[in-house]
């Protein structure tokens, strides 16, 4: 049933990409601008103003930022994915889950554009020779997609119940950014704050990306346990909530 709507998912992702970049001179290259500007700002700040003394800092930042951006942008945008398409849901029968999943797909596509350009550039700039092990980030990305899908299911359905969710997510993401090891390393932290950050489901993912893409290490088996468990929990919980709420969408969205 849902497989039949694969083409719809693809068309929705394509539509959003086309609408976003059409009529613009540099088109998809805009998806590089956001991470580049953030890299420049954070890079300058934490090299010259508040030095963090992380070697190859721009590469470190890049690895964290592109994955953080993917997560944060998806979370914020997915909250509206049901409510903003209410007129469709009221007039055509199709599986509503396509909508939040299309939001995930849209940001995944932008992330891919940024990653394939910026990561090789950073490796080149620092003279790093990536090996096949670099591809070890793909299973981590898979888990992150599960995180995001679950959260998108939950937030899109919850926004139908209360429009406050949207505003809440926008604020929550600001806070979560500093509780996620994107621009700092966890091992330099001590005590309570480190325990707090360890509770963040994004932390094991970020540590994984940093190990694989920044330090070129491979991940030991035990470091997959936490992110896999979080992925199952978020995806399962989000989907269960979405399914319970979906009958409301054509009426309340």
């Amino acid at each position: 049933m849902t497989l039949r709507y694969g083409p719809l998912w693809l068309n929705l992702v394509r539509k959003d990409l086309r609408l976003k970049y059409q009529g613009s001179w540099i088109g998809v290259a805009w998806s590089l601008v956001n991470p580049l500007v953030l890299l420049a700002v954070y890079g300058l700040t934490f090299t010259y103003i508040i030095p963090l003394a992380i070697p190859r800092f721009v590469l470190f930042l890049l690895v964290g930022l592109v994955h953080w951006n993917l997560f944060a942008q998806t979370a914020v945008a997915s909250a509206g994915s049901i409510v903003d398409n209410a007129s469709l849901l009221r007039k055509v029968r199709f599986p509503a889950e396509v909508l939040p999943l299309a939001t995930v797909g849209f940001y995944l596509a932008q992330y891919a554009c940024a990653l394939v350009v910026l990561l090789p550039a950073a490796y080149l700039g620092y003279g790093v020779r990536p090996g096949w092990g670099t591809l070890g980030f793909l299973p981590l990305l898979g888990l992150q997609v599960a995180y995001m899908s679950g959260i998108a299911f939950f937030l899109s359905a919850a926004t139908v119940r209360s429009r406050d969710v949207r505003h809440f997510v926008e604020v929550a993401v600001l806070v979560l950014f500093w509780l996620t090891p994107v621009i700092y390393e966890v091992r330099t932290l001590g005590g309570d704050i480190r325990r707090l950050i360890a509770l963040n489901p994004l932390t094991p993912l970020m540590l994984g990306y940093q190990a694989v893409l920044f330090r070129g290490e491979s991940l030991p088996a035990h470091s997959w346990v936490a992110p896999a468990a979080w992925a199952a929990l978020l995806l399962g919980g989000g989907w269960a909530y979405f399914r319970r709420q979906r009958w409301r969408f054509p009426e309340d969205a």
């Binding site: 039949r4 709507y5 694969g6 083409p7 719809l8 693809l10 068309n11 929705l12 539509k15 086309r18 609408l19 059409q22 209410a86 007129s87 469709l88 849901l89 009221r90 007039k91 055509v92 029968r93 199709f94 209360s162 429009r163 009958w247 054509p250 009426e251």
Partner: protein
């Protein structure tokens, strides 16, 4: 005869929230002023409806405003979930519902891109859509406009495109809300001819409309709705008489009670 679509004791209740008080401020005001307090009202839009549509059957659905006919159609289409009862559609039946023409059309995208989007909304894959394209272009007479963004279309052109896409999907069960013919007289004529072919192909059609002449012309069966109930299900002539009686009774009777049974709150 195998039924294409069957409703078994289907009811749909809408919950109306008078003075919807989501905001804390409104809730607070409501504590002191009852006029601002939220009240919930259960509105039975469709009540205990049972019928079957056989293959190739053309049924008209009429009723006064708010009698529940559009809600019924959306229940049949599977857009709304029934509060009670069951809606069954033959497995694998290509069901196309046109509650409104051009749902999901994107003005910034070209006609071709919109056809793909629209077809996939109905679960049609890209290969089949590609095969549909020549027929859509031909029927809609929009051949040289197919690569133009929809925003430069007139509303008539958009309607023609939407209708052509629906027809090119070769529906087996077609659910229509007031959209059987669109465009100018010549195009409407074409729509009616295409509709005749649907009949020959054995397509099953349910048509919600206020156009009684149209009902007489194309339908062999008429369902009359009133207050969410089916008050007539059978021959067209008898149904029309029943409907006329409802209309005149309504005109002569007490002021109409508030009925928002169609459920669209937009």
């Amino acid at each position: 005869m195998a039924s294409e679509l069957a409703l078994e004791g289907v009811s749909k209740d809408f919950v109306l929230r008078h003075n919807r008080a989501d905001a804390l401020k409104l809730r607070f005001v409501g504590l002191f002023n009852p006029a601002y307090r939220e009240r919930l009202e259960v509105l039975p839009a469709v009540r205990d409806v049972t019928f079957e549509l056989a293959r190739g059957e053309w049924v008209g659905i009429v009723g006064r405003n708010g009698s529940g006919k559009s809600t019924l159609l959306r229940l049949m289409a599977g857009i709304l979930a029934p509060t009670r009862g069951r809606v069954r559609v033959r497995r694998e039946a290509r069901l196309v519902s046109l509650i409104e023409l051009g749902v999901g059309f994107q003005p910034e995208l070209t006609a071709v891109e919109n056809v793909f989007l629209q077809a996939s909304l109905f679960g049609i894959d890209s290969a089949r859509t590609r095969r549909m394209l020549p027929r859509v272009a031909e029927f809609s007479e929009l051949g040289s406009f197919m690569d133009v963004p929809l925003k430069s279309f007139s509303s008539g052109m958009s309607m023609r495109l939407a209708f052509s896409v629906a027809m090119a999907m070769d529906p087996e069960v077609l659910l229509l809300d007031e959209v059987l013919a669109v465009g100018d007289v010549a195009f409407q004529q074409k729509c009616m001819e295409r509709t005749e072919r649907l009949r020959q192909d054995g397509c099953t059609v349910a048509l919600v409309t206020h156009d009684l002449a149209l009902v007489e012309r194309v339908c062999a069966r008429l369902i009359v709705m009133d207050g969410g109930r089916v008050v007539h299900d059978g021959d067209v002539r008898g149904g029309l008489a029943r409907y006329q009686a409802l209309l005149s009774g309504h005109a002569a009777g007490a002021p109409p009670e508030l009925r928002l049974a169609s459920g669209s709150r937009a």
